[in-house]
Amino acid sequence: MSGHTDMVLVDKKGVRIDGRKADEHRPVHIEVGVLSNADGSAYLEIGKNKVLAAVYGPRECHPRHLQDPTKAIIQCKYNMQAFSVSDRKRPGPDRRSVEISKIIAEALEKVVLTELYPRASIDVYIEILQANAGTRCAGLTAASVALADAGIPMRDIVPAIAAGKADGHVLLDLNKEEDNYGEADVPLAIVPSTDEIVLLQMDGNMTRKEFDKALDMAFGACHDLYDVQKTALKNRYAISKEDEANE
């Protein structure tokens, strides 16, 4: 948000450096059940972001003192791999990843029926293999698919995407350049069946009008992502239907 560049992020025709229109998100691809040990897993690419999410549980909660006698707790670990960014990131958690882990766990808490598993823990691991702005949203989007894949009872699947502002334009799903040199970033996650907001952050500088426009874009895109999430899950479990037809 603070950087400066002479780069034109949005040209006169309203086209962005990667060729997208203002309200267009990057191509999304989701694969379900990619890991063998985890109870549920998903691999997600959105633009140049590459994210792996895995879910273990519900299982016994460690450390014990975190147990809640009335419901399961969701523990999330978001981690950027050392080679995922242009400068090598030192391995291990930093303040940023701790904060992101917390808000992702809280966003998932709203949809998971945690009350079914008192004292247990549902553990969500998000590994960022390659980062290009928007990894917290990509991570959350993948994590909620992994939760569904793990057979965890939940009300809905959570999609997440950011909108923001660069070169004075309100834009959907900022890429790295737009994020670095732009003016604002608003990551959003919702429960699509009710349009409730479960994750919202903002940094930068926006008017109320711009903010509302960004939010409208992000809401719309969340519903698009939701369809991709559902299709990916259904494809994974529908494979054997082919066999059935070929019998």
Binding site: L35, N37, A38, K48, Q81, P91, P93, E127, L129, Q130
Partner: protein, 257 residues
């Protein structure tokens, strides 16, 4: 409590099969699992590889950045390896800084690559005594079904073989391939009862008493070894491990081309 308990029935079954030279997944004692390698899968890295060895999966990424040489090797680049056993990969892995298993893993892979001279560090000098290329290899276990040593070795080696020195990014000349001279391959055996088997899966690894990792170079010379586990191996067993490491090393080198 995070220790995994293997049932007595599973243990006995594996042992009984081994008496006839058989294994649960149908392999013979000297067989390794199927290898799948995807290189250059991470554009933000200067070299990368995702490797599947059966159900064990490791990703390795290389970052090459300018830095200061060590004072005792002023004209050589620096090679650094790290491994993380992240909790995504197995229920028994916990988050936190690398423990002794992760550190041993990184050091054994490091030794094979370093001692074989795979990366020609002399060619990583930018200005002698002042600036050299520092090559960081970070490995992450993504899915653990035994034998992380060989999977991590393959991932690191494959990532290095496809790595590019990003000269242009730092205005230090043109981009060029990382100079590599050979392909060190590690082959790990474990001992269960009095049987030696190659490339153990998780269950086999859990009931094994000793482990031996042997890294060979293209000529079949030995470049690194590590014995692990609380059990012992005899001289004859060692000899068998060495023969197999040479033979399988050759086969694996053929697979990765």
């Amino acid at each position: 409590m995070s220790e995994h308990v293997i049932s007595e029935i599973k243990r006995d079954h594996i042992m009984n099969l081994l008496k006839e030279g058989k294994r649960e997944d149908g392999r013979g004692v000297g067989d390794i699992r199927n290898i799948q390698i995807t290189t250059n899968c991470i554009e933000s890295a200067d070299g990368s590889a995702r490797v599947k060895l059966g159900n064990t999966e490791v990703i390795a990424g290389v970052k090459i950045i300018p830095g200061t040489p060590f004072s005792d090797t002023p004209d050589s680049g620096v090679l650094t390896m790290g491994a993380e056993l992240i909790p995504m990969a197995h229920p028994s892995f916990e988050s936190g800084p690398p423990g002794e298993d992760a550190i041993e893993l990184a050091r054994v892979v490091d030794r094979g690559i370093r001692e074989s001279g795979m990366v020609d560090v002399k060619q990583l000098c930018i200005t002698a005594g002042e600036e050299v290329w520092m090559c960081f290899v970070d490995m992450y276990a993504l899915d653990y079904d035994g034998n992380l040593f060989d999977a991590a070795n393959l991932a690191a080696v494959s990532a290095l073989r496809t790595a590019t020195i990003p000269g242009e990014q730092y205005s230090k000349g043109e981009n060029r391939p990382l100079p590599v001279t050979c392909t060190p391959i590690s082959v790990t055996s474990v001992k269960i009862g009095n049987n030696l088997i190659l490339d153990p899966n998780f269950d086999e690894e859990m009931i094994s008493s000793a482990r031996l990792t042997v890294t060979t170079d293209d000529k079949g010379n030995f470049r690194a070894m590590q014995k692990g586990g609380k059990g012992s191996i005899t001289r004859d067993e060692l000899s068998l491990c060495l023969d197999r490491a040479v033979e399988k090393g050759k086969a694996v080198r053929k697979i990765i081309g």
